[in-house]
């Protein structure tokens, strides 16, 4: 059997064994319900609060400002709908600004709010996927209640000038939400310095377990819950608390805090090696996203004359797991909206490939990819009728 290399860390990551070790007691021995007042419950409650403190610490927030949720999608939904509904119940206006390269859960939430009578502005991006803070400034009007911009794109990895946008929003008195599911735990985030009011972070993108995420909600922010019930998480997310997973999330945060500096340096080096290698070895290949302002683990290319799904399956046959923005691999048969937003034509979006690195990727793996990929592209180009001529 060929070697297996997982290069899809942006989709999800394996759970770090250190995290698993921390989690296990909370499934068997310390299984209490945090709402119970007996010692089992209190033990779980204490673990929950300690975890909250750790997660808050990684983003410079107070522990009371962290709401644990079930997924980043839920956090984003809560942020957008919660703010919008709270404002509506106070009789205020309803204008929300998002970017055109948000994750589908933000896109779709905004679309739903549009049907509920809110006005949505989708900011365009430049060819690197960057948002111009000036555009944000221009788009904010009297009725604007929320600006939601993805911190780092899940597809092309571009990191937005969050600090500047945060400053603008603070000046204009508009809530600012950022979806940091891809960036949290990978690059430093400080909610106070960046003037963020709401922030989404996810556990399974940073070597924690799936099924847990959090939303940072700045003290004093008016927000409505989506789930009503027993009043867990300060009444903002009623549901029995998934203590085991939250403990894992916290442990993943601890590890990230300790190792972030070194890890970023190492991955950046590997990333640049991969980018340079592909550009050198494969003609007619183009990097998507910004060359420097990008996540240390994200590489996204488009190759002329080949189709993404074919590439992914060929790579899979060679033991490499990757992902594509091609329409043929999506259920809707539409190419990725992010790639279209940065100005790629549909046929170019078809030929895109995302490789995302992570903790267990070594230089050897990168060398293997650089050895295999050119052959695959060459083979697919040989089949393609377009080789050697522009269309």
């Amino acid at each position: 059997m060929t070697k297996k290399i997982y290069l899809d860390y942006a989709a999800t990551t394996p759970v770090d064994p250190r995290v698993v070790k921390e989690m296990i007691p909370y499934f068997t021995e310390k299984f209490g319900n945090t709402m119970s007042i007996h010692s089992f419950g209190q033990e779980a409650k204490q673990a929950l609060e300690e975890s909250r403190e750790v997660v808050a610490g990684l983003m410079g927030a107070k522990s009371s400002e962290i709401i644990f949720t079930g997924s980043a999608t839920e956090s984003n939904n809560l942020a957008l709908k919660g703010i919008a509904l709270a404002r509506r119940s106070h009789g205020g206006g309803g204008h929300i600004i998002i970017s055109s390269i948000e994750h589908p859960c933000v896109m779709e939430s905004a679309k739903w709010l549009e049907t509920q009578g809110f006005e949505i502005t989708r900011l365009p991006v430049d060819k690197y996927g960057l948002i111009d803070p000036e555009e944000v400034k221009k788009a904010i009007k009297k009725e604007t209640i929320l600006v939601s911009i993805i911190h780092a794109s899940n597809e092309i990895g571009t990191i937005q000038p969050i600090e500047e946008i945060g400053k603008i929003c603070r000046e204009r008195g508009v809530y600012f939400h950022t979806d940091a599911a891809q960036s949290f735990g990978k690059i430093p985030i400080d909610v106070n310095k960046m003037k963020i009011d709401l922030l989404t972070a996810s556990s399974h993108k940073m070597y924690g377990p799936k099924g847990v995420a959090c939303l940072f909600v700045r003290e004093g922010t008016k927000i409505e819950p989506l789930l009503h019930g027993g009043g867990h998480e300060a009444g903002l997310r009623s549901s029995t608390v998934n203590v085991g997973a939250i403990v894992g999330f916290a442990e993943a945060c601890k590890i990230a805090k300790k190792e972030m500096g070194k890890e970023t340096e190492r991955l950046t080096k590997l990333r640049d090696k991969l980018i340079k290698g592909i550009l050198a070895k494969i003609p007619d290949s183009y990097l998507n996203g910004h060359p420097q302002k990008r996540l240390p683990n994200n590489v996204n290319f488009w190759f002329e004359f080949v189709e993404g799904e074919s590439m992914v399956i060929q790579l899979d046959l060679m033991g490499i797991a990757a992902s594509t923005g091609s329409a043929c691999s999506s259920a809707k048969l539409e190419p990725s909206h992010v790639l279209l937003a940065i100005g790629l034509k549909p046929e170019e979006a078809h030929g895109s490939l995302r490789l995302s690195l992570g903790r267990w990727i070594t230089e050897k793996d990168i060398n293997y990819v650089l050895k295999v990929l050119p052959g695959i592209i060459k083979k697919l180009r040989r089949i393609s009728p377009f080789k050697g001529r522009r269309y």
Binding site: P124, D316, C328, L333, P335, R382, P385, Y391
Partner: protein
């Protein structure tokens, strides 16, 4: 090794080791199909269930889509077509379409008809080509899901300057069951007189319909503070109820249209919660409906000459989980009276009739058990196809493009141009019998795994065959040789078959030989599609560039 991605072992095998791949120098024939562009889903819609009316649809109109919502029409296109078309009938209406059209349906497994009711949950709907469906298969009709609970409506007709004597109307009228009942009466029995100085609403009722007269009287007094004038005309066996208010009359005209043929129900009523709409159905049925529960086959019906109203009532009934059937009564003359073409909505199924009777407040104790052939779930009404007819058609066919996908055709229809391109080269030789056969064949493909595998397999299938045999290779044969393809990739096999027929077309054309009619038609269809895609693509690029200049 099992499946890779959604593909079978065979597909992967052909993908991994494609046969006959590459370019051919000096081919005898070359077929180019496909387009590297993925466009937004393209829709073929049959609003009102006929080809005749689709041409009347204009942009920005909204049509019911398979997600149960009204979606905007972005684009209406037409093209010439000549060839076979299918007429598919079910209880809800009639659809005419081309055989390659995709329909949301359930194909029944072979065997007992009961399967569809007994094990209905196990049957999953999918998109099928019209030609693959048979009588008895289940078609799906979306249930309208738009909801907007309006509580009040305002009469937005200004009072004329010179109007000093007409009675003051309330500014806002509560949209309650009384008002909806009145709307129902108006839709079935009312009309608006609109002449200068003589503008009023008039209901023409049968002499026996005293009950309705009373109801209109009380509603009008309580809601509009208007006392209707009631004229009994025993000789003509009618009662006329007139509401004298020009503003109200114009308001009604604006809402419902005038003239029995043009009556429609406005959107805000169609979108009310289904609970509220029962009052409207009550009013409609009391007016133009009939119900006969005494006879052995108990039934209820509603007759109108407004095509739109008939289909709107269908949608309203479906929301109440009542299965209607629509029949068309042709134009006729009886007893010296001209009857226009009318639409009869028939409710005969036991469960549906029980529901309808409870809305109408009629006691109905069903005497017999009848079989159930239609059922509902949250999103769809499932009814069997009752008839499929083939016929030939020559003329224009119409296409609509609907905002945000869906409708009677799928996302799957966009598959014809999901972004695959195939080029097929052939070399033709002569066998011992003197027949021309495919001596050599090569392909080049830009596309996904399925596209590469299908083009590879078709070269395998075609090699060595005579031209006539090669032309007979169709979608099914390709899919079969690959051990199956995922449903959303079926179009790749269609593309491969088209590429081969195009290559043969090219060869015959080069040799200046006679081209079979079927081939010529297929070629024209492909050319038209290409043109259309290129046109749309240009528009798209223009738009995109404009966006980025901003």
């Amino acid at each position: 090794m099992g499946k890779i991605g959604p593909y079978t072992q065979k597909v992967i095998e052909y993908f991994k080791h494609p046969k006959n791949m590459g370019r051919m120098k000096n081919p005898d024939g070359l077929g180019k199909v496909g387009n590297p562009v993925c466009l937004l889903p393209k829709q073929n819609i049959h609003i009102n269930n006929s080809l005749r009316t689709i041409d009347k649809i204009t942009l920005a109109e909204r049509v019911l889509s398979s997600d149960g919502r009204y979606n905007k029409v972005n684009k209406a296109t037409k093209r010439n077509y000549s060839g076979q078309i299918l007429t598919i009938k079910n209880k809800l209406g009639r659809v005419q379409l081309t055989p390659d059209h995709l329909i949301l349906a359930i194909k029944l497994p072979k065997g007992d008809k009961f399967l569809r009711t007994k094990n209905k949950k196990q049957l999953t709907p999918a998109w099928y080509h019209a030609e693959d469906l048979k009588k008895g298969d289940i078609s799906l009709y979306p249930i309208l899901k738009e909801k907007d609970n309006l509580n009040c409506i305002a009469i937005d007709i200004p009072k004329p300057k010179w109007d000093f004597k007409s009675k003051e109307l309330p500014n806002k009228i509560p949209l309650n069951s009384d008002l909806l009942r009145l709307f129902g009466y108006f839709l079935s029995e009312g009309h608006v007189q609109d002449k200068p100085c003589r503008t009023f609403i008039s209901f023409a009722l049968n002499i026996n319909e005293e009950e309705i007269v009373k109801d209109i009287n009380s509603i009008s007094q309580s809601l509009f503070n208007l006392e209707p004038r009631i004229k009994r005309l025993p000789k003509r066996k009618t009662i006329r109820v007139d509401l004298y208010s020009a503003r109200l009359a114009r308001f009604f005209k604006q809402l419902f249209g005038n003239g029995a043929e043009n009556k429609t129900t406005p959107d805000f009523i169609m979108n009310l919660p289904s609970r509220k709409q029962t009052a409207l159905i009550y009013g409609l049925w009391k007016g133009d409906g009939y119900i006969n529960i005494m006879r052995s086959g108990a039934r209820a019906g509603f007759v109108t000459i407004s095509h739109t109203l008939a289909h709107q009532l269908k949608i309203l009934l479906l929301r109440q989980k009542i299965v209607p059937s629509i029949y068309i009564d042709k134009k006729r003359k009886s007893h010296g009276v001209n009857h226009k073409e009318s639409y009869r909505i028939h409710v005969g199924q036991r469960d549906s009739l029980i529901k309808l009777c409870s809305i109408l407040g009629v006691k109905y104790i069903p005497r017999s058990y009848s079989s159930v052939d239609s059922w509902f779930d949250k999103n769809f009404c499932y009814t069997p196809i009752t008839q499929i007819q083939k016929s030939n058609y020559e003329g224009k066919i119409f296409n609509l493009e609907v905002f945000d996908s869906h409708s009677f055709t799928s996302e799957a229809f966009c598959l014809h141009n999901c972004g695959d391109v195939m080029w097929l080269y052939i070399k033709v030789g002569k066998n011992k019998k003197g027949e021309e056969f495919i001596k050599d064949i090569k392909f080049e493909t830009f596309g996904c795994v399925a596209a590469i595998a299908t083009s590879s397999v078709i070269t395998d299938l075609a090699k060595g065959k005579t031209l006539n045999q090669a032309l007979k290779i169709d979608r099914e044969e390709i899919v079969k040789s690959l051990g199956g393809l995922p449903i959303i990739k079926i179009h790749c096999s269609v593309l491969a078959a088209s590429a081969l027929s195009e290559a043969i077309y090219d060869y015959l054309k080069k040799k200046k030989r006679e081209i079979p009619e079927r081939l010529e038609k297929a070629h024209q269809r492909i050319e038209e599609e290409k043109k259309e895609i290129n046109q749309r693509y240009k528009e798209w690029i223009k738009l995109e560039e404009k966006m980025h200049k901003k």
